[in-house]
């Protein structure tokens, strides 16, 4: 009987620890990522936060109204999302569309407090900040809707997280999407005919 009880208690405690470990990891990792971000800015290279990481910081996202900022990692696989929001699509894409996704339980939890008109700042590796203004926030069903990246207006920033915010369901199909537009529309030279997919130089600001 007592062994059974012990087993129950241990497993519950383990579950609890694992559950608390996820947000803790998210917080701690951001501290480490700050260092890696500083390093990659200084060296202008992809610098991995720890040697075995399969992701690296690509941008810094700041929400001045909420007093929150975080390092954005490359890719949206489980590994990168555990430590920070992941960039699905970067500014080098066709029209400068940036799509960032994050866990609703950790980094992107504050997304629910963003309102139209709020400011967002995105810092790229060369240290320049790009200002964005939130246009709207919507809930979409990921089963019936896709992100048609070709049809997004130039200079769009999409922040994506799971919805609803307070639920235990991890596989729900709903997503909360915040759409922001760049403050100063960056003038972009159209793609040269070269197919190598090089980034075009960006004027403006």
């Amino acid at each position: 009987m007592s062994r059974l009880l012990l087993l129950l208690m241990t497993s519950s405690a383990t579950l609890l620890v694992f559950g608390l470990w996820i947000p803790l990891k998210a917080v701690v990792a951001q501290e480490l990522l700050e260092i890696a971000w500083a390093e990659s800015q200084a060296r202008q290279t992809e610098s991995r936060p720890w040697p075995w990481a399969d992701t690296w910081p690509v941008a810094k996202l700041s929400m001045p109204e909420l007093g929150d900022s975080m390092i954005v990692l490359a890719g949206v696989h489980g590994e990168s999302l555990a430590f920070g929001p992941g960039q699905m699509m970067g500014a080098e894409s066709q029209q400068g569309t940036v799509i960032i996704a994050g866990h609703r339980d950790t980094h992107f939890r504050p997304l629910q407090y963003l309102e139209p008109g709020n400011e967002l700042q995105l810092q790229n590796r060369d240290g320049r900040w790009q200002g964005y203004r939130v246009r709207e926030a919507r809930i979409v069903d990921s089963r019936s809707e896709f992100i048609d990246t070709h049809k997004l207006p130039a200079g769009t920033l999409l922040l994506v997280t799971c919805y609803p915010f307070d639920t235990m369901d991890t596989g729900g199909p709903l997503r909360y999407v915040v759409e922001a537009r760049a403050e100063v529309i960056r003038t972009q030279v159209t793609h040269s005919q070269d197919s190598s997919g090089k980034i075009d130089t960006v004027a403006g600001l």
């Binding site: 519950s12 699905m88 809707e145 307070d166 709903l174």
Partner: protein, 789 residues
């Protein structure tokens, strides 16, 4: 949902803890233990067992069985047994009373813990009012409630394949549904019948002018009657709507269509399209609303005003119900001659032969509708038909269908100027682009010294390898190979500029070449090979462009992917005076392409003239195709005519590549009887009327086409089928929910649009479960300490 799991666990605990309270007054005959063990995981089972031991009934079978599965169980049970042994009846009663108290407290605690979660969850869905677009008023996402099944029964006799396609819409929800499904049919199909089946009732549909049919359908739908309609959006793309599908019931829609079997190089081929590649819609959106929130359905653009009607959601196989979007296919081939081989490049086959009749089914039974089903059959070597005539009398009119196969010509190879155009748009991503690259590499291999060539790739913009066609030297070929191997699929499908670049580069190159005045330059054969999946919505504009810019050139199309737009491929080749080839799967690339490249070396027969016994103007008016194009190696000449009785001789003549004359005559009295020739003729006539309008740049003769379609009861751009039940089935109070059925993403292709990533962690769930477990153990500890000091 996780909530439901949680709550069921919760109720299991309560059940397990409450029996003692009942048992206090009544003899221990309650069946609670059994209930617990059945409905709850081992945790609950072990608890029920404890309760059972405390009650002093160690002989219950079910808890024991549950215990045996747990490694900890033997110790626990033995101990519990020994504890209860020394207790008197009074003590037992006291324990029971105590446990009742504890269980009540625990229940209250659990309620307190779980209740806020419920509350949060419900507000979470409610406060989204006004921003939701794809969730209904109650905050619930709409699941596809209709399960779609398809059944193809295809009978081939001679050159005509007659198909019966039954689509069943099974409503799995408890509300009335309207199903809308966009689906492809073979590119030259003549749809001639629609029948709706609701339970035992069968309603035969009729042809009506498109607008009228739409009104009939909508009226029936709004009045609650069963109704079905099928509309043509493109010659190979149709929309079916089925109104008032009762909850839990099935409505099936039977479609009859026929098509001509393709015969080339001694091989007969028939394809059954099951899905469509999402099309690219060029042009600016007409509506000012943001597009990406429209939910997969593209918005009308300046180039494609009906974009929303031809772009259903495309989802993966995993996104539909396990038994939805499956098709059973059955071919019955009565070719009229012994068959050597029946094969399919797309699916494994199970064949059965009965005399000359062959029955073919896919080996796997039902197939997933994400790949075209292609079937090929071959006559015994040496018995390939060289000519055939079929005759049918329909409503007093004679219809004749004739096929003539020109013989193989001797090879006279002319130097060529070959331009390869490869589609690198987003819709080609995945297997398609690999196929296309492989095909292109094969094409490069066929170049001989003395040929000129160029490679053009296009997505949102075209890009050429060379400024103008270059000589096929080893150096240039190596450059081309490298260029091709680096191609990647991404971006839009802007075909018009690519076509212009390919068709006009020839003209430009030629102008410069004439300066060198090398004698053979003028005789150079100019060919364009166009490799694409044809996933565009503005086909018509492109055909006009091909016609305008073609000049002396020839355009060959190679259809790539699991579900190419065959209509586009075939018509583009026809307008380009070339031929079209479909590549089915990676292992199948070389076969068709080698044939194509071999055929491209020279047309076998040009300047073809067809003479029917009666050469009156009306007969010439009614024979199709009116001006037969050039024939390439292995291609037959097909002619259909109205108003000629099966008597006399048909003579066909043409010019061979060397300049010689080729002639052949067919005795029409030998004609076999055929079926459905009138429909084939009518479809050809309608197509030719549409072609004429396109050539002249005018609106097609709508009245004439409608009349023709109604006469032969055919689907056309201006006529639709509609079937309406007489009596209303749905009472006006219950609402009707529209369900747009998705189509499946073609196998091997990547979605052109990005999916939303999964962005939730297990943290809240783990925390909740952990806390719950700890509270529970705390309660038990409390209980133990109080009960057995």
């Amino acid at each position: 949902m996780m909530f439901s799991a949680l709550s069921s666990k919760h109720s299991a605990f309560l059940l397990c803890l409450s029996p003692p309270s009942q048992a206090a007054g009544a003899p221990p005959e309650t069946r609670c233990e059994y209930v617990c063990v059945r409905s709850a995981p081992p945790l609950a089972a072990s608890c029920s067992c404890v309760a059972a031991r405390v009650l002093g009934r160690p002989s219950l079978a079910s808890p024991r069985r549950a215990l045996r599965s747990s490694p900890m169980a033997p110790h626990g049970s033995r101990r519990a047994y020994s504890l209860t042994e020394g207790l008197s009846a009074r003590q037992r009663l006291r324990i029971l009373h105590f446990m009742e108290g504890i269980s009540l407290w625990l229940a209250v605690l659990l309620m307190l813990f779980v209740q806020p979660l419920y509350a949060e969850a419900s507000t979470g869905s409610e406060d989204t009012a006004g921003v939701l677009h794809f969730v209904d008023g109650k905050g619930q996402w709409q699941e596809p409630a209709l399960v779609l099944g398809s059944d193809f029964d295809i009978r081939v006799s001679g050159l005509i394949a007659d198909s019966r396609l039954v689509r069943t819409f099974r409503n799995t929800s408890d509300r009335w549904r309207e199903g809308v499904f966009v689906f492809p049919l073979p590119e030259k199909a003549s749809v001639y019948g629609l029948t709706m089946k609701v339970g035992e009732r069968t309603i035969v549909g009729e042809v009506q002018p498109r607008e009228e049919a739409k009104k009939t359908y909508e009226k029936a739908r709004d009045s609650g009657r069963h109704a079905a309609t099928v509309e043509q959006q493109r010659p190979n793309l149709f929309t079916t709507r089925v109104a008032n599908i009762p909850p839990g019931a099935t409505v099936s829609v039977e479609l009859n269509y026929q098509q001509l079997v393709s015969y080339r190089g001694g091989v007969f081929e028939l394809s059954v399209p099951t899905t469509l590649t999402p099309r690219y819609m060029p042009g600016e959106p007409l509506a000012a609303t943001p597009q990406q929130w429209q939910g997969g359905w593209a918005v009308p653009t300046t180039e494609v005003p009906d974009a929303d009607a031809i772009s259903p959601f495309t989802v993966g196989v995993a996104d539909v119900a396990a038994d939805s979007h499956r098709a059973s296919v059955r071919f019955t081939i009565d070719a009229g001659f012994p068959l050597a081989r029946v094969s399919s490049p797309s699916h494994e086959l199970a064949t059965q032969q009965d005399g000359q009749v062959m029955t073919v089914e896919p080996q796997a039974g039902e197939i997933v509708m994400n790949r075209d089903f292609v079937l090929r059959w071959q006559p015994l070597a040496g018995q390939e038909p060289g000519a055939a005539v079929f005759h049918q009398q329909w409503e007093g009119e004679d219809y004749l269908l004739a096929m003539v196969m020109p013989g193989r010509a001797g090879k006279t190879r002319l130097p060529r100027e070959l331009t390869f155009v490869i589609d690198t748009s987003g819709s080609m991503a995945g297997q398609s682009i690999r196929q296309a690259k492989e095909a292109l590499q094969l094409g490069l291999e066929t170049l001989a010294p003395g040929d000129r060539f160029n490679v053009i790739q296009f997505n949102s913009q075209p890009h050429a390898l060379f400024m103008q066609p270059e000589m096929a030297t080893a150096n240039n070929l190596a450059r081309a190979r490298q260029y091709v191997s680096r191609l990647e699929a991404d971006g839009g499908t802007e075909m018009a500029p690519a076509l212009a670049m390919a068709l006009q580069s020839h003209v430009k190159g030629r102008g410069e070449v004439s300066a060198d005045a090398s004698p053979d330059e003028s005789t150079r054969v100019q060919q364009v090979v166009f490799m694409t999946d044809g996933a565009v919505g503005n086909e018509s504009t492109l055909f006009s462009q091909i016609r305008r810019q073609l000049g002396d050139q020839r355009l060959f199309t190679v259809a790539i992917g699991s579900a190419p737009n065959r209509h586009f491929m075939r018509e583009a080749a026809r307008w380009g005076r070339g031929s079209y080839t479909a590549v089915q799967d990676p292992s199948d690339i070389s076969g068709p392409l080698v044939r194509l490249f071999a055929a491209m070396e020279a047309p076998v027969l040009t300047d073809i003239e067809v003479r029917w016994p009666d050469q009156s103007a009306s007969v010439q008016e009614d024979s199709f195709p009116r001006r037969p194009g050039d024939l390439y190696q292995g291609e037959p000449l097909l002619q259909v005519v109205r108003g000629i009785p099966p008597a006399g001789e048909l003579s066909v003549s043409g010019r061979l590549p060397g300049g010689g004359k080729w002639q052949r005559s067919l005795d029409l009295q030998q004609a076999d009887s055929g079926l459905g020739l009138n429909r084939y003729w009518a479809r050809e006539k309608i197509d030719s009327l549409l072609d004429e309008a396109r050539v002249e740049g005018q609106e097609p003769d709508k009245a004439k086409i409608t009349g023709l379609a109604v006469e032969h009861s055919l689907m056309s751009p201006y006529t639709s089928f509609v079937a309406v039940d007489a009596t209303p089935a749905r009472d006006p109070e219950s609402t009707l929910v529209k369900d747009d059925l998705p189509t499946l993403l073609p196998a091997g292709s990547q979605p052109g649009m990005t999916r939303y990533p999964q962005t939730a962690t297990f943290a809240p769930l783990l925390v909740a479960l952990g806390l719950l477990g700890l509270m529970f153990s705390a309660a038990i500890v409390l209980l133990q300490r109080r009960a057995y000091p």
